[in-house]
Symmetry: C2
Subunit: 105 residues, 2 copies
């Protein structure tokens, strides 16, 4: 079964190629997808803030910050646009969790 041609996974090639021009857009989808979570935290569900992990969102912020720096270094907007926006969103989560719980893990 090792004599399969390299394009045996043709769907992977096709999908990978199709994703190429939309990577910048994909990079901002995750940060934007954080908006419903932010609305819950600051809005109707703020009394459930303790169910959110401050550790997780602090780490998300830190990593997004490092990727933003890395993207600037490579002058690659595909990296820094999404991560810069992500850093802002995750920091908003950190602030909200701290504000509504006074500190949690």
């Amino acid at each position: 079964m090792n004599n399969k041609p390299a394009n045996a996974h043709g769907w992977l090639e096709a999908l990978g190629k199709a994703l190429e021009p939309v990577m910048l857009v994909m990079g901002v989808v995750s940060p934007l997808a954080t908006i419903p979570q932010i609305l819950k935290l600051y809005g109707s569900q703020s009394h459930h803030a303790v169910g959110l992990s401050l550790t997780t969102w602090v780490m998300y912020s830190l990593i997004a910050c490092l990727w933003t720096i890395y993207g600037f270094y490579h002058r690659n907007p595909t990296i820094w646009v999404g991560n810069g926006l992500g850093f802002f969103m995750y920091l908003t989560m950190v602030a909200g969790i701290y504000m509504h719980t006074g500190g949690t893990w």
Copy 2:
């Protein structure tokens, strides 16, 4: 002020270069940072699951899945390792939120 040398932001160059060999590690930090959030969701704070946005975590899963495919296409482990692990983590969040709320936004 436009005659600044290119290395006026020397700290950016230095940090960007320092990050280069640790990008694969950085790629798995965010997925691993999701563990405390998963523990809260499945453990002591599961009654606060409604404070979590199903929309956000479904989108995180979807995007991580697309990045994993993109990383496979480019045979780039720096992309697919972290995103593959992320896909698994975010899907665990989706399952937990659905299980503990019966569906929310």
